[in-house]
Symmetry: C2
């Protein structure tokens, strides 16, 4: 088994953080996304969508999509549960994972890809107006999340989950996207400090 990894890019980091929380080690194949290596044959032959990460099993089976790769490991190594427990717990984690992915992670990514000069060859056409439109959407979601985090430790409840991983990566991605967590979102800032201090955040 090997994981084609994209270094500092957000989706590869989601999987590495997930594996660290599980205590799993998977051999990494580094891919230099800055040099657009993910568009070259080793990646494109495995994932025609030319995105990372890509997991290759020993029999050659390919799994792409960060959350799908995480779910594969969740099924094989259920503890600690990072996708929730029981029907309701799993649904709540999935709800929050999606809420954070669509309303924060996705908005931050759009702001970065459509505004940052370094993304000109990545996002074609780059539409700065669309990038700017995503910034207030991200802020609005952070205010909603802040109210939710007043009553609990983690995004999806009292246990750390994949929704926290998506949130961690999204918040760190805000820096290059030039979006700041509003100072009054003290619950978000407390939660971010806590999940950032876990060893998995450095994976």
């Amino acid at each position: 088994m090997k994981l084609f990894d994209g270094g500092r890019a957000p989706n590869p980091r989601r999987v590495r953080t997930f594996l660290a929380e599980k205590g799993l080690q998977v051999p990494l194949v580094p891919v230099d996304m800055g040099a657009l290596e993910h568009k070259e044959q080793p990646v494109s032959s495995r994932n025609p969508l030319k995105r990372l990460p890509v997991l290759e099993l020993d029999d050659g089976t390919i799994i792409t999509e960060s959350v799908a790769i995480c779910r594969y490991f969740e099924e094989l190594h259920p503890e600690p549960a990072l996708f929730g427990r029981g029907a309701l717990g799993k649904a709540i984690v999935e709800m929050w994972q999606r809420r954070v992915e669509f309303n924060l992670f996705g908005c931050v990514a759009a702001a970065f890809r459509h505004i940052h000069p370094a993304m000109k060859e990545w996002e074609i056409p780059q539409i700065p107006e669309w990038g700017e439109a995503n910034k207030p959407k991200a802020i609005e979601f952070l205010r909603f999340l802040d109210a939710e985090l007043a009553g609990r430790e983690f995004v999806a409840g009292d246990a750390y989950s994949i929704a926290d991983i998506t949130g961690l990566v999204a918040i760190d991605f805000m820096k290059p996207a030039r979006i700041k967590v509003p100072e009054e979102c003290t619950n978000v800032l407390r939660w971010y400090r806590e999940i950032s201090s876990r060893p998995s955040a450095a994976a």
Copy 2:
């Protein structure tokens, strides 16, 4: 238990199609999205993000996000399996569900919301250039999917899954978004005809 439903909108239809495939009946609370009723108190008090569908359990617990609601029912009623079987099967379904959601469903939704005049009050700001940019992305993914469907019956393998539901709803959503499946995508057209003829497609 009751499901706040949004009629013809794509996400509510995903859940209704899923329930029909499971043979489950859940009492529906109709919400007129054309009249923006999803922004009013009955929905906004249950889902501050003001989106449908919303599932309310008998104890008042709320589950939002179409795929999270579907997963709740999958856990309670595992047959027929619509999220895959086993670690690898579940990962492959999740991979395809996400590929279809991000590269087709999401692109079609962006084209519709950012171009259609009726969406002016929904998508603020409406950015037609971004809507147009999504049309070739959807077409490009359909060509990729067409090559995949040459070798199997359904999107994620030999069994119908939630990835097919997301695909069905996305293709039907292409009509108001004014995107057409390329005529040469004969495998996509064959697959679409088959899944459209299932009783669940009318749910």
